[in-house]
Symmetry: C2
Subunit: 611 residues, 2 copies
């Protein structure tokens, strides 16, 4: 509970929770443990916060990541050692994908730590710093809270996180939870949200020295755009994380610009916007997209941070001389850097510049919708990835919250043109399979009830974090889950071990999984091995919105979207390439001769579906 003046009545726990609430947090994720139970008591007593317990800590961290992507910030609470280390892969993922998640580890008492006592959940060697050192490697700011520094350190970590859009880490000793919060920084008195403070600093500070830099950036950009007959806006995931969706939309529409997205920014640009081209992924792009992007007179990049996969194995070609590169806190135009110009401000400035450009003559040409039985086998033949994704293209609705796990799930989704207002959550840079199931739990919490959750996840991925379906059921949530059952790690098969046993997994009886994890008889549980069965399952979901659905989609183990196959082949080739060609005795894939995609004519980026 927060009083009006936290300097008077707050405990350290309440101060921390107050700061989270101010920043927009309403749910705290995690798992109880004896060193955090005092904090959990404070959360349970706080009328503005709800505790969301997960089945394990990695799942809690994934859920918090999903929540932060929708709400701007999340917090996850674990216990010392066993809990925090279980979560660290999730926190590292938040780092790689630029998602601000605050990791709060309840620790042994200050006495125990200072005295090097061999307490449980420690390494028994008298050194209480092991896990903080581990977390220093994967967070942008961290703090060991003390009775003296707690308020200042909480503020410092949160503000650093929101400036960098990265996870932070605080350790809260069990004996400090109930102590009075020490006097904090003066700005604390106005109870301004760090998030709002940051936004003001980025967007509204026209009297600062930045204003001069913005003018110089504007002049440079105006010169570049003056003679440009083709301009493409290219969004990457940092545009999503820094929440410039509105500014991007204004820029594209006011200038009638062409636009495209990098894989990690799927849904950041409204894909029904005139001039939206689709996915740019270097040499793996559809030829029309590649041509448009790489020959544009100017590319306006928003939040570009390319990785091996998102750049098509480093084949992306963006000429710095023709690039206006908008980064967090910095804009670069034609190679000249303008430090301090925020992405949001730069987009607004560019929108003014391009406002007089002529309208696009007409919507871009689209390929015809592909027939449902285009694979020539009909509605009762085995279901293919192509037939599955074609149907999903018609199933998705505006405002859906879509989470797609890495593998055929995400790369299949990339081939679809999405309705307006959807949010896509994925992890194409960190690429930790299993992320998507807890992430959709976190992403849906606190959202309007009408926003349907839709999950695409492979069977190997689902098994990684399967228990979180129990949390979804326990909370009465009702996503539509598409379990893509292709009998193992198809994404790995694409790289190595096309038929190897190590890419196989346990065979679960998927139809019994929801019931085992607590789903009632009202849940929609279906198995779709043919187009006809999939149509029936989709129809059931349409008939009963708001009902949990779990649809096992049976697919061949070697069926995959062409884009995934091509990217995987590139990765495998790179991994197997010897440091010195003459020294290599390695066979990159002993089964390489047999390796071919069973059916890779799916609706990849070259086959966008008309809406």
């Amino acid at each position: 509970m927060q009083s009006d003046d936290p300097t008077v009545t707050s405990t350290i726990a309440d101060y921390l929770l107050t700061r989270l609430v101010e920043a927009g947090v309403r749910h705290v994720f995690g798992v109880p443990g004896d060193y955090n139970l005092g904090l959990l008591e404070a959360i349970e007593a706080d009328p503005d916060l709800e505790w969301v317990g997960s089945a394990n800590e990695l799942n809690a961290a994934y859920a918090a990541d999903g929540y932060a992507r929708m709400h701007g910030l999340a917090a996850v609470v674990t216990t010392y050692g066993v809990g925090e280390l279980s979560a660290i892969n999730g926190i590292a993922g938040s780092y790689a994908e630029s998602v601000p998640v605050l990791m709060i580890a309840g620790t042994p008492t200050t006495r125990a730590q200072d005295g090097g006592m061999p307490v449980h959940h420690s390494l028994l060697d008298g050194d209480s710093g092991h896990f903080a050192r581990a977390f220093a490697a994967v967070t942008c700011a961290s703090a060991l809270l003390s009775a003296d520094n707690a308020t200042a350190e909480i503020d410092r970590v949160l503000e650093r996180m929101l400036a960098d859009m990265r996870p932070g880490y605080v350790r809260l000793p069990a004996d400090l939870v109930g102590l009075p919060a020490p006097a904090g920084r003066s700005r604390r008195a106005d109870r301004a949200s760090p998030l709002r403070t940051l936004e003001r600093a980025l967007a509204d500070d026209s009297t600062s020295p930045i204003a001069g830099t913005e003018r110089r950036f504007t002049e440079r950009a105006r010169t570049m755009l003056a003679g440009a007959s083709s301009v493409v806006v290219l969004a990457d995931h940092l545009a999503d994380r820094h929440r410039v969706h509105r500014q991007l939309d204004v820029l594209i529409r006011s200038g009638n610009l062409l636009s495209a997205t990098i894989a990690g920014a799927k849904s950041t640009i409204d894909e029904t916007t005139p001039g939206f081209l689709g996915l740019y992924i270097g040499a793996f792009s559809a030829p029309s997209v590649r041509h448009a992007v790489e020959t544009a007179d100017v590319v306006i990049g928003a939040g570009l941070r390319l990785s091996d996969l998102s750049s098509g194995g480093f084949t992306a070609k963006l000429d710095p001389d023709r690039l206006i590169d908008l980064q967090p806190g910095r804009a670069v135009a034609g190679g000249e850097s303008f430090d301090g110009v925020s992405m949001a401000a730069a987009l607004d400035l560019l929108a003014d510049i391009v406002a007089d450009r002529p309208a696009l003559p007409a919507p871009l040409p689209m390929p015809d919708a592909v027939e449902d039985d285009a694979d020539g086998r009909g509605r009762d033949a085995p279901l293919t990835q192509a037939a599955f994704w074609r149907r999903i293209g018609g199933f998705l609705r505006p405002a859906d919250i879509i989470v797609a796990d890495q593998g055929t799930a995400f790369y299949g989704l990339l081939g679809l043109r999405l309705p307006s207002g959807v949010d896509v959550i994925s992890q194409p840079m960190w690429s930790s399979i299993g992320y998507a199931l807890p992430a959709i739990m976190g992403a849906q919490i606190g959202m309007a009830p009408g926003r349907r959750g839709v999950l695409f996840i492979g069977d190997g991925s689902f098994q990684m974090t399967a228990q979180e379906l129990g949390t979804i059921i326990r909370r009465g949530m009702a996503p539509v889950v598409f379990l893509l059952n292709n009998d193992g790690y198809t994404v790995e098969r694409a790289m190595n071990g096309w038929t190897a046993a190590y890419n196989e997994i346990a065979r679960w009886d998927w139809s019994r999984v929801p019931g085992a994890l607590g789903a009632g008889a009202d849940a929609i549980v279906a198995r779709a091995a043919t187009p006809a069965e999939l149509d029936a399952a989709l129809a059931a979901c349409e008939r009963e919105p708001g009902t949990l659905a779990f649809i096992e989609v049976v697919l061949d183990r070697h069926d995959m979207p062409r884009l995934l196959f091509e990217l995987a082949t590139a990765v495998a080739t790179e991994n197997a390439r010897a440091p010195e060609a003459t020294a290599s005795r390695h066979e990159p894939d002993r089964l390489g001769a047999q390796r071919r995609p069973r059916a890779c004519a799916g609706p990849g980026p070259t086959r966008r579906r008309a809406r």
Copy 2:
């Protein structure tokens, strides 16, 4: 595949695998990922090794820990970043519990790392050292393998691990897997096992300078033991890890000595040995055990490394003047340290000294076996922890492999006197719940088929790592699983939040879990809510040995062994104690007044069951 001379034909991967095989490893645990697929190919091609794929990396690390406890060493293979970080909690547990598990992370190519390329599973910041820094915090030795150093570094890490009984970490870049192994150290030529080499060094080196130290240790110990009328051997977990079971047995029997174990050493001393007292846990011991240990003229400690829980909240009283403290590589007698005297050698020397002590007059008195319906409610009343553990006492058989998760499972088991030849695996220092399910999978692999696995695990713990039941089923393994369903985190309830919502978990339909995860109709799946139902389930297991059994044991959420309740109360009190008493405003447990164990008259250490 290994040739006779690895310097001629080995690749780096084969050299690594050869070293593992030499050290006794026959199974490698892990999860495939694109940076480790080359190594998995080499494992699959190796006739001496079998790949054991887990559903996720934390489970694989736990399984490897269980395997290492039975076989002396284990290896777990993951991919970079996402995989290794998912496993780090398991590796840290191996560190805390002194278990040598080699973590092998397949990494991006040397090119990608040296060039700081933004590859997937990295943090995209050009620094490839993040995860190595995280692992440095929880391993005793680590190495980034290169084309030049691979053999020397593999040897160094393995030898350090086996000397310290701690986990190690090697990073194997994907492009090095198939390169020729560089010329290694000369000792490599004799293909001696590092494990065997270590054992020789510890046990057989009578010509070394250690021999003089051993003579001085012997004299000092002889003096201490000469006038001692009572001598107690007290074993802790390092005696188990350094594999001195035989030497302990010889010492106790040849000297007719009393003996007791610390919680982490359960089963290290044969509990049917005359003079075996039971569990020593400081002030929480049974009075007779506490008296015997704390008033003994000499205590011979084997591998003592006490923690908060195992010392009864630091209440253990072991007078250094009367203690012969045998540690790995060092013995301390009456406060004088004898460096280099191994635990095994010291035990042998002590056995010679005490060989003339008189026989114990008779077996120690035992309490009468408690009646099955001692709680006064009968065979059809709700099952209690007390009634459950009494029946388990009669169910366990010699040579069982028992794995007990932390919580009521382990603390209930501690109250039983076990048959000969059982192995108990638990994690009382690290105490990461969920460990036990993957650990029994790892522990049973490679063991004689007649050695039955018996798992005790709580419902909250099981949910942490539930997917590994699928691996057990997939491999055709047949442990008897006792799922202690007490509707949440009872171990946390004992500390804080006696009725709090945050200690509740999703309610699964446990009877459907084995089938959902792939179990056939032949599996024994039972629910035992009364003593009669439990008897029927146990009888089914006796009738059908070699059959997977999954028995849901329904227990009250506030029912727990007295020992657990008392220890948990001590921990909660310590955690809530303010750093300075006058500064505290914290209520340690808002529900404290209501908190009492529903039934804590279980068969704790004061109620050992006669055999």
